[in-house]
C-alpha cells in the first residue's frame, strides 16, 4: 500500500528550482532512499514533505490525506517524524528527557490536568515514560538515558535522535543522513537499526550519502539530480542505470576519494 504519495512537487527559491516535478511513492513497510549529489535538493525535498517549506508546485498526500500545506507539527501528529542532517538534540537535557519531548505530540493532558494531578495526567506521565524508555532501548542507547545529550558520543546522539522521532509514534520516519558523522565501522550497526524499523510498523524514507549502506538497505531508491528525478528503482536497477552511473556514482566516488 502506498503510504506517502508525492506528485509533481516543486520548490523555487528566487528564480532557482531547488526541487522540480518530483514524483515518489513510499510503500508501507519499506525503506525508500533518496540519493543524489550535494545540492541535488534532497534536504529541500524533506523539508517540503514535512512542511518546513511550502511547495510552489505539486502535492503531497499521506495515507490518502492531502498534507501539501500542513505545518510541521501537524505532520508529526499525523504520523510523520523526522531527524535532521546535523543532529538536533536538546543539549542540556538527558537523553531520556530528549525522548520524552518526542511524547509531547501524543500527550492529551493540559495545564489543569497537571495542576490537579488528574488520573489522566498520571496515566499519561507513566505511559510517556514507558514509551520513551522503550524507544531508547529499541535504539540501543537506554544505558545512556541519564547522560546529558552533549556528553555522549556522536553515534549515541544519532540513535537518540531516532528514538526521539520514534517516540512520536510515527508511521513514516524521514531520516536525513542518519549515518553522517558516524565512524565507518559503526554504520553496519546503524543500518541494522534502520532495517529493524519496518518491523515496528514504521516505514522509512531516508537521504544518505554512504552508498554502500543504501544499497544493502533500501527497497526503492530515488536518484535526484539538480532537483529533478534522474531514476527510480531497486538498488540493482539503480546500480546498472547508465544515467546514474554517469551523473552520480562516478562523481561521489571521486568525492569520496
Amino acid at each position: 500500500m502506498t503510504l506517502l504519495e508525492i506528485r509533481g512537487l516543486g520548490k523555487r527559491f528566487g528564480g532557482l528550482d531547488a526541487v522540480k516535478n518530483v514524483d515518489l511513492d513510499v510503500q508501507e513497510g519499506q525503506i525508500t532512499a533518496v540519493i543524489g549529489p550535494n545540492g541535488a535538493g534532497k534536504s529541500t525535498l524533506f523539508n517540503l514533505i514535512h512542511g518546513f517549506y511550502r511547495p510552489t508546485a505539486g502535492s503531497v498526500s499521506f495515507n490518502g490525506r492531502d498534507i501539501t500545506h500542513s505545518s510541521p507539527h501537524n505532520s508529526v501528529s499525523g504520523g510523520i517524524a523526522r531527524t535532521f542532517q546535523t543532529t538536533h538534540l536538546f543539549d542540556d537535557s538527558t537523553l531520556l528527557e530528549n525522548v520524552l519531548a518526542g511524547r509531547i505530540v501524543r500527550s492529551k493532558s493540559n495545564v489543569f490536568d497537571a495542576i490537579f494531578h488528574t488520573p489522566r495526567h498520571r496515566r499519561e506521565s507513566a505511559l510517556n515514560h514507558d514509551k520513551a524508555l522503550e524507544a531508547l532501548e529499541f535504539c540501543g542507547v537506554s544505558e545512556f538515558r541519564h547522560d546529558l545529550a552533549s556528553n555522549v558520543p556522536q553515534e549515541v546522539q544519532k540513535r537518540t535522535a531516532v528514538a526521539m522521532a520514534l517516540a512520536t509514534e510515527p508511521e513514516l520516519i524521514l531520516l536525513d543522513e542518519p549515518a553522517g558523522g558516524i565512524p565507518e565501522e559503526e554504520t553496519t550497526d546503524f543500518g541494522n537499526l534502520i532495517r529493524s524499523l519496518p518491523g515496528r510498523g514504521v516505514s522509512v524514507l531516508l537521504v544518505e550519502h554512504k552508498m554502500s549502506m543504501i544499497m544493502g538497505l533500501a527497497d526503492t531508491i530515488l536518484v535526484l539530480d539538480h532537483g529533478q528525478k534522474l531514476a527510480i528503482g531497486s538498488p540493482s536497477e539503480i546500480q546498472s542505470n547508465p544515467d546514474v552511473i554517469r551523473a552520480y556514482l562516478g562523481s561521489t566516488q571521486n568525492e569520496e576519494n
Binding site: 507539527h73 517524524a81 536538546f90 497537571a114 499519561e124 532501548e137 545512556f144
Partner: protein, 371 residues
C-alpha cells in the same frame, strides 16, 4: 515520602516556611509587613514572567503593563464604581488574561528580538493609556483608597498580617502551579521551545499556540499580582505600569533563577531587601543596580536557585548514570537471549562495552566512584 528526599523540594519548602513565619517576627512592624507583602505581590507577577521568559525563553517586556492593568482594574472598580474587592479582582485578572491572550495572537507569530520589541510596545501602550486617559484613570493623580478584600466578619484584611497571609496563600498556589507545569508535558513543551523552535516544530509542538498560551498565562499572573498590590498599598499611580516595573521583575527573576520553581520568590525577596537598603537614594539606585544586572547576566545568568539546582542535578545524575549503566547493559543482554531476532538491539548490546570507553569524562568518573 519520596518528595522529602528531593533537595529541590526541601529547599523550596524551607524558603516558604521562612516567609510564612515572618509575621511572627515582624507582626507588629506595619512598615516591614507591608514591604514584604508588596514583595510577595511582585513575586506572583514574576512567576508569570517565569513562564514566558524562564520556561518559553521569550523576553516579555509587557509584564509591568499587565501588572498595571490588574492594579488599575481593582483600583478603579473598587473606588469609582464601588465594586466589592473580589468582583473587581476577578474581572481584573480575567481582563488582563484576555488582553494577554489577544496580544498573544500577534506575539505568537514573532520570535526572539521581534517578540521582545513587540511586547515592549504592548507594555508602552498600556502605560500610555493609563498615564494619559485622564477621564478614566485620573492619570497622574492616581487612585486613592482602594478597598481591602471583604471577608464578612471572619478576617479583617485591613490588618497587615491578615493581608500578608492572603497574598501568601495565593503565592503558594502560584509556586505550586509553576511546579506542576514544570514537571508536566506542558512544561516540557515550553522548555522545548526555549531550546530550539525548529526542533520543537519538528517533534510536533505547536510553537505558536504554546507561545500564545504562555503569554496569556504570564498576563494572568501579572494581573493577580497587580490586583493584590493595589489593595495592599491602597494608592496606585501610573508608575505601577511602567517599563521600570518590568525591569524590576526582570531583576528579581534573574537573581533568583529563570525557569526554576523557587527562583522568582527567592530573587524577589532578596532584591526587595536590597531595594530597601538603597531606599534613601530611590532615583539613583539604578546606578548601582544597572551594573549589577549586567554583571549577573554575564557572570551568573542562572541565578541563585539555578546554580543550586544545577549542583543538585549533577549529583543526582551521576548517581543515576551509574545505575543506568548497570541495569542498562544487563537489560540489553536479557533481551538478547529472549529475543535475538532484533538485530539492532543485539548488536548494540555487545557493542556497549566498547563504546563506553569513548564516552565523556563524567561517565568514567562515575564508574570509578562506584568501584
Amino acid at each position: 515520602m519520596n518528595a522529602l528526599k528531593n533537595p529541590r523540594i526541601l529547599g523550596t519548602l524551607a524558603v516558604l516556611l521562612i516567609i510564612a513565619l515572618t509575621p511572627v517576627a515582624f507582626g507588629d512592624e506595619n512598615y516591614i509587613m507591608r514591604v514584604i507583602t508588596i514583595g510577595l505581590c511582585s513575586a506572583i507577577a514574576v512567576y508569570g514572567m517565569n513562564i514566558i521568559l524562564g520556561f518559553t525563553g521569550q523576553l516579555s517586556l509587557a509584564q509591568g503593563g499587565f501588572f498595571g492593568i490588574g492594579a488599575y482594574a481593582v483600583g478603579l472598580l473598587t473606588t469609582d464604581f464601588d465594586w466589592p474587592f473580589w468582583q473587581a479582582f476577578v474581572v481584573g485578572v480575567v481582563g488582563t488574561s484576555a488582553i494577554g491572550y489577544l496580544s498573544g495572537l500577534i506575539a505568537l507569530r514573532t520570535k526572539d528580538e521581534y517578540f521582545a520589541i513587540f511586547t515592549m510596545a504592548i507594555g508602552f501602550i498600556i502605560y500610555l493609556t493609563i498615564s494619559r486617559w485622564e477621564s478614566v484613570t485620573h492619570a497622574h493623580s492616581g487612585v486613592n483608597n482602594v478597598k481591602f478584600p471583604e471577608a464578612g466578619d471572619i478576617v479583617d484584611f485591613s490588618n497587615p498580617t491578615a493581608m500578608f497571609y492572603l497574598v501568601f496563600i495565593i503565592l503558594l498556589a502560584s509556586v505550586y502551579i509553576t511546579y506542576a507545569i514544570r514537571r508536566s508535558s506542558v512544561g516540557r513543551t515550553l522548555l522545548t521551545i526555549r531550546t530550539s523552535e525548529d526542533l520543537a516544530d519538528a517533534i510536533g509542538v505547536n510553537v505558536g499556540l504554546s507561545k500564545q498560551l504562555a503569554f496569556a498565562a504570564s498576563a494572568f499572573f501579572g494581573g493577580i499580582g497587580g490586583g493584590l498590590y493595589a489593595s495592599v498599598v491602597g494608592f496606585i499611580g501610573p508608575d505601577a505600569a511602567t517599563v521600570d516595573k518590568t525591569f524590576e521583575f526582570l531583576m528579581f527573576i534573574l537573581v533568583g533563577g529563570m525557569g526554576t520553581v523557587a527562583g522568582p520568590l527567592v530573587g524577589t525577596m532578596i532584591v526587595t531587601f536590597l531595594f530597601e537598603l538603597f531606599q534613601d537614594f530611590q532615583a539613583y539606585r539604578f546606578i548601582v543596580l544597572g551594573p549589577i544586572i549586567i554583571a549577573l547576566v554575564i557572570f551568573a545568568p542562572r541565578g541563585i536557585v539555578g546554580y543550586l539546582g544545577g549542583f543538585i542535578d549533577k549529583r543526582a545524575r551521576k548517581r543515576r548514570i551509574g545505575s543506568a549503566r548497570k541495569d542498562g547493559s544487563a537489560g540489553a543482554n536479557d533481551s538478547d537471549q529472549a529475543n535475538g531476532s532484533t538485530p539492532a538491539r543485539g548488536s548494540t548490546g555487545t557493542d556497549a562495552a566498547g563504546r563506553r570507553g569513548t564516552a565523556a569524562d563524567t561517565i568514567t568518573t562515575t564508574e570509578e566512584e562506584k568501584k
